[in-house]
C-alpha cells in the first residue's frame, strides 16, 4: 500500500481528484454541500478549460493571428460573424445574429445532408439488398431473412399514412418486437458504459491514490 504523498505536486493533484470523486459519490447517499462544491467546481473549471482551449486552438491561430500579421486578412469576416452572435444580448441589435446563424445552419445543413445521403442512405440501402436464400449456408440465409423481416416490419410500424389493421397491424407488431430487442441491446450497452465509468473511478482511487492495486 502506497498512498499518494499530498505534499508533492503530483500527489496533491491526486488527492484533490480523489476527494472530489468522493464528494460526487456522496450524492448517492443524499444531496449535501460537498457534492454541491464538487459540482460547481466541475462546471466552472470545464467552462474555463473549453474557453481557453477554443481561444488558443481556434480563435487565436485561425482568426486573430492571421489578421494581425496580415497573412490572411480575410479571416476578419468569420471573426466579425462570430462576434455578431453576441448581439443577441442586445435586444435592439439581436437581429444581426441571424446572419451568422444563417451561414452556420446553411453550411452545416449542406455538409450533413450530403454526408447522410452518401454515407448513410445509399450505403445502408445497398447493404440491405441481401439474398434471402444462400445455397449451402443455412445460417447466413436465416440471418438475411431476419434482417429483411426486421427492416420491413419496422418501416411498416413507422408508416402512418394508413390505419394499422389486418396484415399491416401484424407487420407493425412484429416491428415493435424488433424495436424492443434493439432497445434492449442499447440499454445493455448503456449499462456497460456507465459501469465502465464507475470502474474507472474506482481504479483511480485504488491505484494512484491509495496504491493498493495496479491497473
Amino acid at each position: 500500500m502506497h498512498i499518494a504523498n499530498p505534499l508533492s505536486f503530483d500527489g496533491l493533484g491526486v488527492w484533490i481528484a480523489a476527494l472530489l470523486t468522493l464528494f460526487i459519490f456522496s450524492f448517492l447517499y443524499k444531496d449535501n454541500p460537498f457534492y454541491k462544491l464538487a459540482e460547481h467546481l466541475f462546471v466552472g473549471i470545464s467552462a474555463g478549460y473549453y474557453v481557453a482551449q477554443e481561444w488558443w486552438a481556434v480563435i487565436y491561430p485561425q482568426c486573430v493571428k492571421p489578421v494581425m500579421n496580415g497573412s490572411r486578412p480575410i479571416m476578419i469576416i468569420p471573426g466579425i460573424l462570430g462576434l455578431l452572435l453576441f448581439s443577441r444580448f442586445v435586444p435592439k441589435a439581436g437581429w444581426l445574429s441571424r446572419w451568422s446563424l444563417a451561414i452556420i445552419i446553411g453550411a452545416y445543413a449542406g455538409i450533413k445532408t450530403t454526408g447522410f445521403a452518401q454515407g448513410d442512405l445509399v450505403e445502408q440501402f445497398h447493404a440491405s439488398l441481401l439474398p434471402l436464400w444462400v445455397p449451402g449456408h443455412i445460417g447466413v440465409s436465416i440471418d438475411n431473412i431476419l434482417f429483411i423481416a426486421g427492416i420491413i416490419s419496422t418501416l411498416v410500424f413507422f408508416f402512418f399514412s394508413t390505419e394499422h389493421k389486418g396484415a399491416i397491424k401484424n407487420a407493425a407488431q412484429l416491428g415493435v418486437w424488433f424495436l424492443m430487442i434493439s432497445f434492449g441491446a442499447a440499454y445493455g450497452f448503456t449499462v456497460m458504459a456507465r459501469v465502465s465509468l464507475l470502474i474507472g473511478r474506482f481504479q483511480f482511487l485504488l491505484d494512484p491514490w491509495l496504491g493498493v492495486a495496479r491497473f
Binding site: A57, F189, T190
Partner: protein, 303 residues
Amino acid sequence: MASLIVFLVVLAVVAGILAFLLRVPAVAAWFARLRGLDRRWIFVAVWVLVMIPLLFPLKLPIAPTARAVEYYEEIEKLKPGDIVLLSADYDPASGPELGPMLRSSLTQLCRHKVKIVGDCLWPGGPPLLEQGFNQVARDQFHYQYGVDYVNLGFKEGREAVILAMGNSIPGTFASDFRGTPVTQLPLMNKVTNLSSVKLLVNISAGYPGTKEWVQQASRRFNLKIISGCTAVSAPEYYAYLQSNQLLGLLGGMAGAAEYEKMTGITGSATKGMDAQSSVHLLIMLCILMGNLAHWAARRQGER
C-alpha cells in the same frame, strides 16, 4: 447457438420455479416488500461488486468477438512505413473505456513500425493523445516526434474538418499540438490528404466521431476505417459494419479488453472486466427481482 439454447432452457426453468414459489403467500409477500427497498442498498451492492473483483481478480475468461478480431487484423495488414491517421475524438469523461483502446492501438501500430498522424475533433482530446504517444510510442518504442509520429491537436469545425482533411491535411492543420508549423515536421511532408492515409483508427466518444468519419470520408475519400467507441454508441455503428463502411469495431470496455487480450496486454480494461461482469449479473438480478416484486404485489392486490 448451443449456448443460447442452454441459456433459454435455464431461464425457462428458473422462471417456472419462481412462478411456483410465488404461489406461496409468504414468498409472494416477501417479494412484494422488495418494492419498498431503499435504492441505496443497490448502490452498496454495486460498490461491493466493483471493489472486490478489482482488489481480488476473478480472472474470468475473455473471448475476442469477430468485430474485435477484424479490428486487430486490419492493423496487422499494415506494412512498416505505412501512414495511419489516429483520430482521438474523446475527452477524459470517456477515459476508462477509450484510454485502454488508444494505448493498445498505439502498441500494435508501433509494433508494425507504421507512421502515425494523430488528430482530435474534441477539444479535450489532445492532452490524452499526447499522453498515449508519450507512454507508448516514445517511451516503449522510441518513436521520434515529427519523424515517426505527430500530434496535430484539435481543430474546431467537426464535419467541416473531415472534409477539409480530405483536400489537404497540412492545409487543415497548419501547426501541431505544440505550435510547431507542420512544414517543419518531416512526417507531414509525406502526408497530403486522406487518400495518403492507409487506415483511419478512430477512438470515438460520440459526436463528432465515427459516424461523421463514416458519413463524410469512407466512400468520398475511400478511407478504410476501424473504430473503438464507447459502449453507448456501439449499437449505432453496427449498421456500418454490415455495410463494410467500418472494418472493425471495439465496443466499450468489453471491446477494449478483447483487444488487449489479442495484443497481449493486461491493461486496465482487462482488469476491469471482472467488476463489469459482476455488476452485470447484479443488474440482471435486479431486473428479475423487480419484475417479480411487481408481479407479487399485483397478485396480492388481486386477492
